[in-house]
Symmetry: C3
């Protein structure tokens, strides 16, 4: 698990005690329990439990580590009531997440995020970024606070990089946007002022190539990650929390929905789409224009929509055509 310091990217707005957090959502609290009051300055996810944080939990799951840390569990699931030492049961988890996160952090979707830029050679570079002196940066780029870029990386023109940690020898082509806000919202309450705060980062590992006009959204709480040597063509969309292994090859106009996990050595054709939260094995080949709706096992070759084994898909096509000539 890569570590990052959230406040490098999202400045702290307020630091609240557990009691104060509860008072923010008091109108919808159904039950609450606590061992003692402690400070809440961060958020946890099921992937990483952070001290002095709040963990938003929808499913019933009992995690010992949470009770061993200073973590306030906020859940809409009554079954979690018994197990956790510090817990508030509420009605609307999404609403509580938005409300609390908007109080704890400044983020770009609801406020000005404090930053200071130097205008260097035609691009705006945050004074709070760390860019290796071998990095080449084109014109009209914006590199925001907290961003780190490793040695020998090349950032072309009109690229926006925010909330990201970029490795060595990474190439990012023109007009791409890295570390942008994921599409986070509650189906029931829409509108920009109900937008779900996106407080994670994007991590591009060494030797990654990102094409032109791509959008790589950052994680919601943790990160979006693209592994070493992965190569991504133009106009590709990678949503929040996606994790891609090393040596991926992804052709143009493909879109990968939120929280998809992809193994090493995967080849994905152009204009492919993925449903959210899927797991794709290693060494998988996905033909162009496939629509992937289910998990895919290691070493599979799939095609079509819904994507199935490519041989079977071809048989289906031939059969459809044969009927057509009757």
């Amino acid at each position: 698990m890569v570590e990052f310091l959230r406040s490098n990217f999202f400045p702290k707005k307020n630091s609240y005690q557990l009691n104060k957090i509860n008072s923010l959502i008091k109108e919808q609290i159904l039950y609450k329990k606590k061992t003692h009051d402690f400070e809440i300055t961060d958020i946890s996810s099921l992937e990483k439990f952070r001290n002095n944080s709040v963990l938003f939990l929808d499913k019933h799951i009992e995690i010992e580590e949470v009770n061993n840390k200073k973590i306030l569990v906020i859940s809409n699931n009554q079954n979690n009531k018994k197990f956790y030492k510090n817990i508030s049961i509420i009605k609307n988890l999404s609403n509580a997440y938005n409300l609390i996160c908007n109080e704890l952090f400044y983020h770009e979707d609801n406020s000005l995020v404090y930053d200071e830029y130097n205008f260097i050679n035609g691009s705006h570079i945050s004074r709070y970024s760390k860019i290796h002196n071998t990095v080449i940066i084109g014109k009209n780029c914006v590199i925001s606070r907290g961003v780190e870029i490793g040695k020998n990386s090349i950032i072309k023109n009109n690229v926006v990089i925010k909330n990201s940690i970029i490795g060595n020898s990474v190439v990012i082509c023109d007009n791409s946007s890295i570390g942008t806000s994921g599409f986070g919202f509650d189906y029931n309450i829409r509108g920009s002022n109900n937008f779900t705060p996106q407080l994670g980062v994007t991590i591009l590992d060494d030797n990654v190539h990102i094409g032109t006009s791509c959008t790589i959204d950052r994680g919601k709480i943790d990160f979006t990650y693209i592994g070493k040597n992965s190569m991504i063509d133009n106009l590709v969309h990678i949503a929040h929390n996606v994790i891609i292994g090393k040596n991926a090859c992804i052709a143009a106009q493909t879109g990968i929905s939120g929280s998809v996990i992809i193994g090493n050595n995967v080849t994905i054709g152009g204009q492919v789409g993925f449903a959210g939260h899927l797991t794709i094995g290693k060494n998988v080949i996905i033909a162009a224009r496939s629509g992937v709706t289910k998990n895919i096992k290691d070493n599979s070759v799939v095609s079509g929509f819904p994507a199935i084994d490519m041989k079977e898909w071809k048989k289906n096509i031939v059969r459809q055509r044969k009927y057509g000539h009757k």
Copy 2:
């Protein structure tokens, strides 16, 4: 119907009398009739009849209001001859539209549009725009003449906004382009110098969220409109004259063709496409990767290409797969 003053966005090039307009297209006039000479300074559409304007009409339709205003009808449909008081029947409507509009207005696809920019905090802001002082604007943006942006809106980096009226609490993410030229051309005469002038605006209502690298084209004569609380993901294309109701949710890489009308509370998955000029009802759900080729009734759930009722689509898929195993 939202009102806007066309010349705020498209400066007047010439102001002609009706007679002069006819003389511009005299080579193709088959018939003409007029009550008296009057000034032509604007264009009308079937959605809005403006005084001192020309109305281009292909179908046969008799509209009393047109005769009660100072409107010159230009039509390639002989059936309109009798009804209208001021009418010119011509051969090629598209050619006449281009010729006349190019004479009446300066627009970005064939000339320099007069503007004056201030360079403020890394972005180019027109002196002829009206931006509420609470608006946050990132770097490398261009906000052109006539644009209005309401309070508490957030414009991120490298965003281009032209010919647009933006409401309150709207968020527009990096590298998106709002109010750009629609894809207007005559199938028979192609090339940038035969481009159909796009002289309308884009209207984003309050609380709209636009993702990264989206393109929202302006209306041809009237407007493209996105209703309150609508949320649009990355790399979405919305063509000219599209009207979207409130509370829409549209996932990444979807494209909505020209003049599609979409009701309230619609949810549209990623990589969906629409044929032009469709009407989509309210509360409709359109699954990811659907290709919508027909109007859709209220409360429908559709899927596939061509998009049909989702249950039926799933049955079809299962049946195709079953045959595949025979």
Copy 3:
């Protein structure tokens, strides 16, 4: 065949004698033969044989012209051994291409390309570009070394143009990227530091219209070409080496894969995809959302994925639906 001087765009890094080229790849040379030592300063393709160049050849093909010029053939195909006067047989062609091209030229994917910019009216314009004085250029554009733009062309805002020759009356809309790096890589060795150098140009002929947020990659060795009067909508991707005839009309979000050749007067709907290296005839119509996997003959009308004759495709759809009601 359009001529261009490669060093206008890609400055020469080293100029090597044939012997030195061979020494660069000496570890993988299986066989070599030469008439005499000569200077290597350029690369050839099967479309154009240039003096003092190296030609990378995978297939067995015997070209007299190559032997009449100062060309070193580098091939992984033993059958070419006998015919060519100057030839080196090697194991890994892709690796040799990368290694040699990276030695001969500076290019944007592995080094800083020498350039000097003037900041004119909000855009960065290379001192080594040739832009007609009637050209209109918006804000935040980058126009790099070697680029030529003909009279009356319009470049809107936040456009990146590099390695391109643009004709007269061309319109390029906001946030588009022209002449960018194609997606060139070896399936077996991935990562940005194994990226295949893209050393050609993009040529847009007169009266071409390019929409918003398009990506038009340059040729690998020769060029990507879009013919006169062609009109391209928003978010369209055109890969390296694509050649499109005149009067094309291509709707939004379509992607054309590498080395596809398209005839004159073609109409292509939105969200269409093409497999690489296809040949599409003239006067072809390709319906929206088609996936084209085979060559298409002149005057065809196709639809579906895999794209077939549109009438047949419609029959298939009707039949599928009929079964659905049984």
